[in-house]
């Protein structure tokens, strides 16, 4: 059964994603931040990592770099509702540069989320 690690500091969103993924048949792990996520991945690697970008302890961009350095084959889907209004950086573009294989802009429809995860687990 394909597995997904959801890393997001927002409890509500993390639980919602977990429920949607479990209903779709995935085995789901959760982490509240980048460091915790890396620990969980080390302990039990998953097929896909769903990574939020703006998090208080270690942000998603750093976490993607760290994860990909240690596990080059890790498949990361970056997601964020954040935006830089002054246009210095588009977080999702940077996430791709850091090694995310796919990005999702929050808010999203569950179909969009499930399609992205399915595409990566099938890849």
């Amino acid at each position: 059964m394909p597995s997904v690690l959801v890393i997001d500091d927002d409890d509500q969103i993390r639980r919602m994603i977990r429920e949607a993924l479990e209903q779709a048949g995935y085995v789901v792990q959760e982490a509240r931040g980048g460091e915790e996520g890396l620990k969980r991945y080390r302990a039990s690697p998953t097929d896909v990592v769903l990574m939020d970008i703006l998090m208080p302890d270690q942000d998603g961009l750093e976490s993607i770099l760290a994860l990909r350095q240690e596990f080059p084959s890790a498949r990361v889907i970056a997601m964020t509702g954040g935006s830089d209004m002054i246009g210095i950086m588009n977080f999702l573009d940077v996430a791709k540069m850091m090694g995310a294989c796919r990005t999702i802009q929050k808010p999203f429809d569950l179909q969009t989320l499930l399609a992205a995860v399915a595409a990566e687990t099938d890849a």
Binding site: A20, G81, S83, M85, P107, F108
Partner: protein, 417 residues
């Protein structure tokens, strides 16, 4: 000063604007877009060369001397935006818009420059040195931008939960249950809010120009929906947007900026007294005969955007003169000058024409003519170019470089038609 770590330079390599770092008067780093502007293929061709070899005196003279820059370490040196010239390795002289920011580079003072080619009539606003008041205003704007970014992050997260839990709940409620329809409404409202936020972001983000065929009526309808709530209730808004307009070759971000600037000026003029803001958008055919009387407006099919206020608006007198780069106007006057410059620059850049009628007292009518993509003439009798419009003089962008509007003051103004 900000110490620049390696990461932003990796990011700078992806930017379409030129990014240059200089220390002690010499170039140290140039991103690929910057190399293109300098006429170089590799960093080695320009690295270590003096800055004065590439930047015109009109830019160099506005920068702090290196000794002074060193003393700025603890004072929080402020960046500046200016226009000037750059010289390529091949001797080309290029008009540029440049932003400079003092930074720390390898523990020493340095300048970070962001450079882009200036567009005729658009990038003429010169801000060599910020006054204290402008620094405070600029800092406030940056803070508001940061706050807005934070708020949008929170709203997007909230909407993610609303949409996600809504969709999860929908699966559990039978379709014939009334609650099913209610949850559907919640989801629909969430999506609508999400779309509004995306539209705000599209407008706010500086984006590389993407010009292509554009249906202005669709863009105008979407964008006006966004602007409507920002217009005070004591200003009556009358919109006449044609169901369909001819495609134009345009950059959507620039067209939004054009609408926003024209409407902002009209609203600002009426915000104390109230009045009527009239916005029209439709195709207009200009015959050869009419073109001759409307000095400077070539015959052909146009998409015409007309914004009319009932008092104040964009000052017709001021529109006669191109903005003065050395002007020291501040506050609202400066804002108007920037808006005027932006409007003229955008229209000029799109091969269009601006016609202004009216006066501050009675109201102003600004008509923007953007050439339709496949320009075609209607038979003479079908033209909707009215006689009052044909009396107005015009400014034409592309032929004169900077559009120079000539204004028919005697023309009746204010909401009409």
């Amino acid at each position: 000063m900000k110490d620049v770590p390696l990461f932003p330079l990796a990011f700078a390599d992806q930017l379409s604007d030129g990014v240059i770092v200089a220390t002690k008067g010499s170039l140290r780093y140039v991103n690929p877009s910057g190399l293109l502007l300098l006429g170089a293929e590799r960093l080695e061709q320009v690295s270590g060369k003096p800055l004065s070899m590439f930047l015109g005196q009109d830019v160099i003279s506005k920068l702090l001397p290196w000794e002074e820059l060193r003393r700025q370490d603890d004072r929080g040196a402020t960046g500046a935006t200016m226009t000037g010239h750059l010289y390529g390795l091949d001797g080309r002289r290029v008009a540029i818009r440049l932003s400079s920011l003092p930074i720390l580079w390898e523990r020493g003072p340095a300048y970070l420059f962001v450079v882009r080619k200036a567009r005729a009539g658009f990038d003429v606003v010169d801000q060599p040195l910020l006054t204290e008041a402008q620094q405070v205003a600029s800092s406030k704007i940056r803070t508001v931008g940061m706050l807005a970014a934070g708020i949008i992050h929170e709203v997007n997260n909230t909407l993610t939960a609303v949409l996600g839990y809504g969709q999860l709940a929908l699966r559990l409620i039978p379709a014939d249950n009334k609650a099913h329809r209610h949850v559907q409404q919640v989801i629909a409202s969430g999506r609508k809010s999400s779309e509004l936020i995306q539209q705000i972001l599209m407008f706010a983000r500086p984006s590389p120009e993407t010009r292509g065929p554009l249906s202005f009526h669709i863009l105008a309808n979407e964008f006006l929906a966004l602007l409507r709530s920002a217009i005070p209730s004591w200003i009556v808004v009358k919109e006449e947007i044609a169901d369909v307009t001819s495609p134009i070759e345009a950059d959507p971000a620039q067209m939004r900026l054009l609408l926003a600037n024209l409407i902002a000026d009209a609203v600002h003029a009426m915000c104390r007294t109230g009045g009527v803001l009239h916005i029209q958008l439709h195709d207009e055919d200009v015959s050869t005969e009419q073109a001759a009387s409307a000095d400077g407006l070539p015959a052909g099919r146009y998409v015409c955007l007309r914004v009319m206020d009932s008092g104040g608006g964009m000052d017709a007198q001021e529109m006669r003169q191109p903005p003065d780069p050395s002007a020291t106007t501040e506050g609202f006057d400066r804002e108007r000058e920037i808006r005027r410059s932006a409007v003229l620059g955008i229209v000029s850049d799109h091969g269009g024409t601006v016609i202004v009628n009216g006066s501050l007292e009675s109201g102003t009518r600004v008509s923007v003519f953007i050439p339709a993509k496949a320009s075609s003439m209607r038979p003479e009798g079908e033209s909707r170019f009215s006689s009052s419009r044909s009396q107005a003089s015009s400014c034409q962008g592309p032929r004169s470089g900077f559009p120079e509007p000539l204004i028919e003051e005697s023309d009746a103004v204010g909401p009409r038609d």
